[in-house]
């Protein structure tokens, strides 16, 4: 929707209110109220937030159960992005579950494909396939491969798992949307460690070059990868400033704060002429005390006792 005011005006208006700030890479600050000013047809209110929180809880429960049944898989990075993905699928994106290939649908590309359990959980919750199928995660003969396979699962938009490639894929989809004069939007979710792949920045350059305002890249900035903290292994920081320098609109938010997630998505939708990067500060393993912020839980599944304990915490 259009607020009837130029974008820069909105930002500068927001800029006046400097308490409780969220940092825009290019020096803008936005208060909590401003996120709501920017809320468009996608309304942000307490009821919406409560509903989305409920959805994210279900996703986290499913993730834990699936991984427990599979006995292997990526727990931390699936949990860290659950709030973001709940907002995308239950608030932001237009989709038709009865027609997964609807040409006008919005597209979500899970560039950090190892978070497949999260994607499967949300697709099942949306109704793309029966939730009983979740029990097949990583098992022989199941469509739910260890990393997403678009040929096997309705609703999966991209076959991913090799890090760095999903954002380029999203650029291709955004270019196709423009060619076909469709107004669908494309969302890519990346890991912060994934940003170390050179091709991410080739794609970021292309996104700005082609002024893809129908594209949003969301970085799950949980601070951890496999071999340790991203800053210790190979620092990708500062992230938002890099996107900004490449010509993107870059926003830093708390990736577990629904108002900020939705506000950033609204802002991206209202922006013309350039893509938006949402750098979402998250906690890896969010929601389960004994998994949160531990590097060891990157690629490990909970055992039956841990599943029970986790589910109790998620009640």
């Amino acid at each position: 929707m259009h607020l009837g005011v130029p974008f820069s005006f909105k930002l500068s208006k927001c800029n006046e209110d400097r308490n409780n700030t969220h940092v825009f890479s290019q020096g803008y600050s936005v208060s909590n109220q401003c996120w709501e000013v920017l809320a468009g047809m996608h309304e942000i209110n307490e009821q919406v937030v409560a509903e989305l929180q409920g959805k994210a809880r279900v996703l986290r429960q499913d993730i834990v159960k699936m991984l427990g049944q599979a006995g292997s898989g990526h727990t931390g990075g699936s949990l860290s992005a659950a709030d973001i993905v709940a907002c995308l699928y239950f608030w932001e994106m237009k989709l038709d579950t009865r027609n997964p290939r609807w040409p006008d649908r919005d597209r979500f590309v899970l560039s950090k494909g190892h978070a497949a359990p999260l994607l499967y959980a949300v697709l099942a919750e949306k109704g793309f396939f029966p939730r009983e199928d979740l029990a097949g995660l990583r098992k022989f003969g199941s469509p739910l491969q260890g990393h997403p396979d678009m040929k096997k699962v309705p609703g999966v938009e991209a076959s991913t798992g090799s890090l760095g490639q999903g954002i380029a894929w999203a650029i291709g989809m955004a270019l196709a949307g423009r060619l076909d004069r469709k107004d669908y939007r494309v969302y890519a979710l990346l890991g912060d460690g994934e940003l170390q792949e050179g091709m991410v920045w080739e794609a970021v350059m292309a996104g700005a070059h082609y002024r893809l305002d129908n594209l949003v890249a969301i970085v799950d900035f949980n601070g951890l990868q496999i071999d340790g903290r991203v800053e210790d292994v190979m620092s990708p920081l500062p992230i938002a400033a890099k996107f900004g320098a490449f010509g993107w609109q870059a926003v830093e938010i708390d990736g577990h704060d629904y108002r900020q997630i939705m506000g950033a998505l609204n802002l991206a939708r209202e922006t013309r002429g350039r893509p938006t990067a949402i750098v979402a500060r998250t906690i890896k393993g969010r929601g389960i005390s004994f998994i949160e912020n531990l590097v060891d839980w990157h690629g490990k599944a909970p055992n039956p006792e841990q599943v029970a304990q986790a589910l109790a915490e998620l009640m």
Partner: protein, 315 residues
Amino acid sequence: MEKVATRDAYGKSLVKLGQMYENVVVLDADLSKSTKTADFAAAFPERFFNMGIAEQNMMGTAAGLAAAGKVVFASSFAVFATGRAWEQVRNSIAYAGLNVKVCASHAGVTVGEDGGSHQSVEDIALMRVLPGMTVLVPADAVATEKLVTAVYHQEGPAYVRLGRSAVPTIYRPEQELHMGRGVELREGGDATIIACGIMVYQALEAARMLEEKGLRVSVVDMFCIKPLDEELICRKAAETGALVTAEEHSVIGGLGGAVCEAVAAQCPVPVVRVGVQDRFGQSGTPEELLAFYGLTAGNLVKAVEKAISLRDGYR
């Protein structure tokens, strides 16, 4: 029988090399716990560089280190080390003839649950096609240690293919392995199975099963895919007239492809190739996948019978 993963043997060998030789430098791309270069990193932190999730940059950096006199071991999963960074390996390492040893783990379908995106069944082909590249596929922990040590001493680029799962140890510690020379593990005049990697053990099993059926077959461990022991292949072709190749890799371009090239040019006899039949991998347990793709002793028995009937049909 003792079971050890070849990647574990690789980690231990690197530490030994590091103790003996100052010029050993090791690189990894955020998988050091999986590839086992973490052992070296702990012992020689100043000679270990974690390049982050950036395989292409890792190979370029390896080339620079080697050009400056280091002997560089660069590790990641096989699909990323040979696939993602192939052109860097080609131009910066192989074309330049540099002392970089690409030692990649998680090759083949025994990666298991992670699925097809992570199961490299084309890495042998990708590396074998590069001029001057030595290509080695050790069958067990003993062979791994010997070959990792051998590539350190041998000038020039090399590729060593390592696995995720524990495999039976077939060699005694005193076994000698020579570059470019296959090992005849068992002699028999009815047919020859030429195997590499985990399929060597399956080939020995198949030979035992065939013996019960009254057939005596030779088993060759062709751990050195390049340079290939064409002399041994042609001798076995002449002696038995029926060849079977066995590899945890696509039948296109790998050991089977290499043997066929040599046999067609020099000593034509029927060759039946056991391996992944031009398909991608998928999720499952290693055992389920080995059975599904026919990488079993039972299937080798059938392949030997087929090769014999082809031979007898020709005659």
